[in-house]
């Protein structure tokens, strides 16, 4: 199939349609490389997302459990300080001196109590105030406070000197407070968190135990109470971050924000958050199954986890904005996409390159074969591929070399044969002519009848020999062309005169318009030879009467001569082969017309030797127009 005849309908595909093998190779390589890449990418994305969700939950859980432990340690530490088990037998720290006066029962009096309170204050910086409350009266019998100035406030004895005591009524009565009532029963009391300008605080109260006099169970001697500043817990929380924008916060049992790792101005209640809501009801929200996703109070679209702090009813919650949490995944994904696109691009380019590398030598072979088919045996392919294609190229070169030698031998043979045949056939022609003219005596009708076909056959033989000799000369490079400035009109007019009898026989009118004729560079004799061939063909291939029109036109630097007839015409297929050797148009109407099939091949060689071109335009039953161009003489 001729490649030039392939015309895909879609222009887009025409780019790729020139090499089916290359396209096939390209498709194969792309399938083998790109599809696995895509599949791998999809699987990678799948596994990244699956594991990422788990990782986020794990990180949050780890952070929260750590913070929970730290908070519980601090709280337990403080509670431990308030767990006082005195190793002494006493029922109360005060003893009545009179109806309204009391004194301290310990050896050093109030100093001992102050010492206990001082030790507690010193133990933990979070303890802002500590006091002792008498078990029976609910009176605050000792107080130590870490005020802003650092002074410790103490009471002074104010009973009459002889009683050496303190007025009971001067001690604060705290018997109505919840902390006293609860701790007095033996239970540790922890208040709600309350908010002061010092920060969030809470009250703790616990029983103070002493040894029983009867050696039995320990007895409650007093209640010790403390005010705890929860800012320390804030510091524990504030040192926590998740990614770039994630944060952790501590909420009270009612959802109030107690501390946050990000500075927050103002007051917040976070009970509306689903994770906070669940956590404060004792349901931890941790792990992949517990992690929540919602619009947080502080940031939109957060991934959150939370744990509850037992006994206190608090919650620690981590909120990580989804965009930040997924940023690493997005980065990986984008890198994945970029890498994949680059890879696909590289694969496509490399595939095209690879396919072309494979196709190129095959194309050369294809071109070479075409040229050989057209008779050009001088083709020498230089294929350096280092594989079987190179071997094929070498074999091809051997073949063309052989064909060229064969052609040369054939041309030489034809030339010699035609040359040797020319003398005898010319002699035969001469003698036949003399016999027909009566030089050998009068011919009988019978003799004339026998001589006529002999004469015609000899004539054909002479033409064949002459044409073969002409072709052989051309192919051997022996054809001589003498190019000079000539007036084509005179060659054409003499040709018309020569062939007029033939035309008149068939009632064919020849018209020559020489108005556009101009001087050209050509061999006049050869040009006449061309005109004789074309004009005689125009007459021969017009069945019945007709017309032959000859005219010129100028095109650029050339003069074109047209010879148009009203003959039988020919098909497109015949036109393509018309100027090949020995080709004759297969037509029933022209079977009887004699010819060697070499005439048009010869004139094509002649015209091309004179730097011209010859072509034909024809339509079956409508005639043909032969045209040739020659360079204008300047």
């Amino acid at each position: 199939m001729n490649e030039e005849t392939i015309q895909p309908k879609n222009h887009f595909f025409r780019v790729f349609a020139r090499s089916p093998l290359r396209n096939r190779l390209l498709a194969m390589v792309l399938s083998v490389s790109v599809l696995p890449l895509i599949i791998f990418g999809v699987l990678a994305l799948y596994s990244i997302n699956a594991s990422h969700s788990y990782d986020i939950a794990s990180i949050e859980e780890s952070v929260l459990l750590q913070k929970k432990d730290e908070i519980l340690r601090v709280v337990d530490d403080i509670k431990g300080v308030f767990t006082i088990d005195l190793n002494l037998r006493t029922r109360s720290f005060i003893m009545p001196e009179s109806a309204d006066c009391v004194s301290y029962s310990l050896q050093n009096g109030k100093e001992d109590l102050d010492g206990i309170l001082f030790g507690i204050l010193q133990y933990h910086a979070s303890i802002e105030e500590v006091s002792l409350i008498d078990r029976d009266t609910g009176r605050e019998i000792a107080l130590m406070s870490r005020t802003q100035t650092g002074d410790l406030s103490i009471l002074l004895p104010d009973c009459p000197d002889e009683k050496r005591g303190y007025r009971l009524s001067n001690f604060k009565d705290l018997s109505g407070l919840e902390k006293f009532k609860k701790a007095r029963t033996g239970t540790v009391y922890l208040s709600d968190v309350y908010f002061t300008e010092s920060g969030p605080m809470m009250t703790i109260a616990a029983p103070v135990f002493g040894k029983a006099y009867d050696g039995g169970r320990a007895v409650i001697v007093a209640v010790i109470s403390g005010e705890i500043n929860l800012s320390l817990l804030g510091r524990i929380i504030s040192e926590t971050h998740l990614g770039n924008t994630g944060f952790v916060y501590l909420v009270g049992h009612d959802g109030r924000l107690l501390a946050s790792s990000e500075k927050r101005d103002g007051y917040y209640n976070l009970l509306a958050s689903p994770v906070v809501y669940d956590v404060l009801r004792g349901n931890d929200r941790i792990g992949s199954g517990g992690m929540g996703y919602y619009d947080g109070t502080f940031k939109k679209e957060v991934l959150a986890s939370g744990v509850s702090i037992p006994n206190l009813g608090w919650g620690v919650v981590a909120e990580w904005p989804r965009d930040d949490a997924n940023s690493i995944v997005n980065i990986i994904q984008n890198q994945n996409i970029l890498f994949s696109l680059v890879l696909v691009f590289v694969v496509i380019v490399m595939s095209l390159f690879l396919a072309d590398r494979i196709i190129a030598p095959i194309r050369k072979l294809q071109e070479g074969t075409k040229r050989v088919a057209k008779g050009d045996f001088g083709v020498n392919l230089n294929l350096k591929t280092g594989d079987e294609i190179e071997d094929l190229g070498a074999a091809f070169n051997e073949m063309t070399k052989g064909l060229k030698e064969y052609q040369q031998l054939k041309d030489e043979f034809v030339f010699i044969a035609a040359h040797e045949l020319r003398a005898p056939v010319t002699a035969i022609k001469g003698y036949l002519s003399m016999i027909e003219e009566g030089d050998a005596g009068e011919l009988s009708p019978k003799m004339k009848e026998y001589l006529t076909p002999v004469s015609q056959s000899n004539k054909r033989l002479v033409n064949l020999v002459n044409d073969l000799l002409e072709v052989a000369r051309q192919e051997a490079g022996r054809m001589t062309i003498d190019v000079a400035k000539i007036e084509p009109a005179s060659a054409i007019e003499s040709t018309i005169e020569e062939l007029k009898p033939l035309a008149m026989e068939k009632n064919i009118a020849i018209t020559y318009d020489k108005s556009s004729a101009r001087a050209v560079l050509a061999d006049e004799a050869r040009m006449k030879e061309v005109m004789v061939n074309l004009l005689s063909n125009a007459i021969k291939y017009t069945v019945g009467s007709g017309t032959v029109l000859i005219w010129h036109e100028t095109s650029g630097e050339t003069l074109i001569t047209h010879i148009k007839d009203t003959g039988i015409g020919m098909s497109k297929e015949s036109q393509e082969k018309l100027f090949e050797k020995f080709y004759r148009v297969p037509d029933e109407r022209t079977k009887k017309i004699t010819g060697t099939g070499l005439g048009l091949f010869i004139i094509k060689q002649i015209i091309e030797k004179m730097n011209g071109r010859v072509w034909v335009a024809s339509e079956v039953d409508k005639g043909s127009t032969f045209s040739f161009s020659l360079p204008l003489a300047k």
Binding site: N23, V34, G176, E197, Y267
Partner: protein, 288 residues
């Protein structure tokens, strides 16, 4: 055939590209579904157990009231400790009410020398914070400062903005520490009002202070004496709290505290470390 291959290849490429670009959203199945955030009510701060009286903005007109026989006791810098205590009260108020109620004050530029001597205002009974002084001083101030025919009338000072809850604050050169609300009532006697409000009768007084909805009195000594330097501002806010109808958290007769906040035991603590209890705040419309 090749055209179909190219189309197929193009489709695969496009889908894979889309998957890469949006796959993480498609694969959001690995992440939890979005949950709804609960809706919470908005706070609307009002008088304790009286939602009809809003306390979005409170303005206190503060006077340093000196009986005419006590002018010699006026300290040179009488204003600074008052303003300092008031500033701290404002800060405390903002924190406790979470910014849902604002407190502002104006201090009358000069000490107000009262018409009468101290015994008129103190009487013999100064128990329970000397409410008699509170009432008589408040009535006099209203007449003299807030009425146009008063000798100390100041149109600029006496004005309250629309929506402000008006309060008188009296720093008294004498014995005093009490506060309360002023409410119109058609009842004729304190007893009738006490029965209606289910309060002890000794807490109900008949007053004529049309320019204020609440008033408090505090002895100047509480703001300047060293004995009270720890909780001077606390005492001021404690008395001011009564103008919002907040009751005491301790027994007025025995002094025994039954709450730990500023209305009870907390009144003895520095303002920095005391608070208003959640019961009171929720009773005043604050949603936690």
């Amino acid at each position: 055939m090749k055209k179909k291959l190219f189309i197929l290849f193009g489709v695969v490429l496009i889908f894979s590209g889309l998957f890469f670009l949006f796959g993480s959203r498609v694969l959001g199945v690995f992440f939890p579904k979005k949950e709804y955030v609960l809706t919470r009510s908005e706070s609307s701060v009002h008088r304790f157990r009286d939602s009809s009286t809003r306390l979005d903005a409170i303005r206190v007109k503060v006077f340093y009231a000196v009986p005419r026989n006590r002018t010699g006791d006026i300290p040179n810098d009488w204003k600074t400790p008052i303003e300092e205590a008031l500033r701290r009260a404002v800060s405390f108020h903002s924190l406790q009410f979470r910014g849902k109620s604002s407190l502002a004050f104006d201090v009358y530029p000069k000490p107000v020398i009262l018409d009468e001597e101290s015994h008129f205002y103190n009487t013999d009974i100064t128990a329970r914070g000397n409410p008699h002084a509170l009432i008589s001083v408040a009535e006099e101030l209203d007449r003299r400062v807030f009425q146009p025919d008063g000798d100390l009338y100041d149109a600029g000072f006496s004005a309250f903005k629309k929506g402000e809850y008006p309060v008188f604050g009296i720093i008294y050169e004498g014995v005093g520490a009490s506060g309360g609300i002023i409410q119109d009532s058609p009842k004729q006697s304190a007893g009738e009002v006490a029965r209606e409000l289910k309060l002890p009768e000794f807490l109900i007084f008949k007053v004529h202070v049309p320019s204020a909805n609440g008033f408090f009195i505090l002895s100047r000594d509480f703001l300047t004496d060293a004995e009270y330097h720890v909780n001077s501002a606390t005492l001021l806010y404690h008395e001011f709290s009564h103008t919002m109808a907040i009751p005491d958290g301790y027994d007025l007769d025995t002094g025994a505290s039954y709450t730990a906040d500023i209305m009870g035991d907390g009144r003895r603590k520095p303002l920095l470390r005391t608070y208003l209890s959640r019961d009171i705040l929720s009773g005043m419309g604050l949603v936690e």
